[in-house]
């Protein structure tokens, strides 16, 4: 699966978390690659390990609550897991920027927005202060933040939820990273602002070869921006496909259930049908397929053996006993 222009290649990543009930595997043998100019969408249920996967790439996973147990993370040919804290710092922000799921954790409450964006610009480009302000205003305006000059002088608590989320996006993009890891970057945005945000990412992807790891539970956003989709369930990637294939021919029963539950805004809805059942706990026994208890197509062996990866078509992989060739 590794091609010459792969920018980020994650292989067999396993992350353990500690809890009152012992040690659990929150990320379990996850592998994926992203090329320059490509966007990989990661979708999956709450608690399936999406954020931990993202955080682990730049080793921002919570410590000591979690630990990267094994795996390999190669960025531009370099093994990131071999780097020490100092070595990693050279990558963070500049080569790899991360948008954290909770905007408030990445904003400094006592600095103005302008200071925080300028700081990101300063780290990574040599601009005059006037130019910094101009670039910062331009970035905010592209993310449809009204009155960017006012926002630059504001403090985080003076902004709306969605404005804060866009500011965090602007800080990440200010460093002109080659890889953007975006964990739910648009949850607090209305759809028109989101469309502008995604269009900007699309443009950076085309024109500057920006690679994006895009975590979201918004399948509409996936359709707009992702080239490929990886579906996570219980810490594992259970399916990966091109975006078009995912929407037209998802193979895994969980992916299908997810797509079916998507309500359609263009019709008056009769009822909402969530996927029945609960996701597995990270501390539960990891035997067989973790979706088995909720699966409409469950077979006897599903509860005993972990389904191996099989190829549905070129570039389309699934882990499911009911989809073996």
């Amino acid at each position: 699966m590794t091609s010459a222009d792969t920018l980020l290649q994650v292989n067999d990543l396993t992350v353990e978390v500690k809890g009152a009930r012992g040690v659990g595997r929150a990320v379990d043998g996850v592998s994926f690659g992203i090329s320059a100019g490509e966007t990989l969408g990661v979708v999956g249920e709450s608690g399936s390990g999406k954020s931990l996967t993202c955080l682990s790439v730049i080793r921002l996973n919570p410590k000591p609550a979690s630990r990267i147990a094994s795996g390999s993370i190669r960025f531009d040919g370099r093994e990131l897991l071999e780097l020490d804290a100092e070595g990693l710092r050279a990558y963070r922000g500049r080569e790899i920027a991360m948008i954290l799921q909770d905007p408030m954790t990445s904003l400094n409450p006592v600095l103005t927005i302008g200071d925080q964006i300028r700081e990101a610009l300063k780290l990574h480009r040599g601009l005059s202060r006037a130019d910094e302000t101009r670039v910062a205003e331009d970035l905010l305006a592209r993310l449809r933040v009204p009155e960017p000059h006012r926002v630059l002088r504001s403090y985080p608590h003076e902004l709306s939820g969605g404005m804060r989320q866009r500011v965090v996006g602007a800080i990440a993009l200010a460093g002109r990273p080659r890889l953007l890891i975006a964990d739910e970057p648009t949850t607090a945005l209305d759809v028109t602002v989101q469309a502008a945000y995604l269009a900007l990412l699309r443009k950076l992807q085309r024109e500057e070869g920006l690679a994006i790891l895009f975590v979201t539970h918004d399948l509409g956003a996936v359709a707009r921006i992702c080239d490929r989709v990886a579906v996570m369930y219980g810490g594992r990637i259970v399916e990966s496909a091109t975006t078009a294939t995912f929407f037209s021919g998802a193979a895994h029963p969980y992916s299908r259930a997810l797509l079916r539950s998507l309500p359609d805004v263009s019709k008056p809805p009769e009822r909402l049908e969530p996927i029945p059942g609960q996701p597995p706990s990270v501390f539960a026994a990891r035997k067989g397929c973790l979706f088995a208890d909720r699966c409409p197509e469950v077979q006897a062996r599903c509860r005993e053996l972990e389904p191996p990866q099989s190829s549905v078509a070129e570039g389309h992989f699934v882990h499911c006993w009911a989809r073996q060739p």
């Binding site: 607090a188 707009r224 309500p263 263009s266």
Partner: protein, 336 residues
Amino acid sequence: MTDAETPILEVRGLTKSYAPRTTGWFTKPAPPTKVVDRVSFEIGSGRTLALVGESGCGKTTTARMILQLVTADQGELLFEGRPLDLKDRNMARRYREKVQAVFQDPWSALNPRMRVGEAIAEPLRLNTSLDRGAIAKRVAEVLRDVGLDPAMARNFPHEFSGGQRQRIAIARAIILRPALIVLDEPVSALDVSVRLQVVNLLVEAQKRLGMSYLLISHDLATVRYQANDIAVMYRGAIVEDGPSETVFETPMHPYTQALFEAARFVQPGTEAESDDTADAALPTKSGCSFAARCPKAFARCFSEAPSLRAVAPKQRTACHLYEPLESRAETVSAVG
């Protein structure tokens, strides 16, 4: 007491401005920015009013004024048909009991060191004189109401998933049997499936307990499912309102149309629209705040602000496209 016709809450002309930060001693202070501008609506008993609109348009500020977390510059609230007077201590207490809130973030809404049972019981302890046994009973009841095992009362928040925490926040909001719950993006932090579970839970709780909801959300699909009425805000003001289905079927205001259009599922591979909208973000000084971005704007839109007026039975919009010229004089006086 109120009859079914009296709205549970009426909001009249709520307005809030924030003074801008000064840049230096030599610059003239800019006028305060109005972030909520004469917002009025009513929430019927047992009904859900959805408040939707662009990020930063003033939805949360409106909610916080209703919850008395932010002081309004102007405007008044009528609760159960009577003007809300917080100096009247009985009324203030009743209002605090009967109006509850659930916010977006299931992670920060709960005190990490408090067992969830205590957190849920807190409003009862503060507002009633029930004894411990009675409180424990009510806690177990509401936990069951929100689909959680009453035994979970002894657990701490970090032991719950996002969807479960949002259920806990809802349990805490409904334990006083409120008349109105303000829901500020109650599901936006949740994945699709958990989101639908929580929406179903809210709808069932409403049917059973007869509460009203003020629902703030960017998720238009669940808004369409939940709301009886809808109000669309843009830059601090309501630009369109009416019965939810009517507005979803026939949106009148160009902003509402753009919003609903953007919410439709795009087939993968469809080009994302260009992002050259940056400069269009400046509102005009005297005209309609949407004019600079409006595909249908004409001269009048840049000089005169449209007022919210009926365009169909029960549907109102603030747009010059729908104003017959004859009534123009009347409109201008209604704005002033």
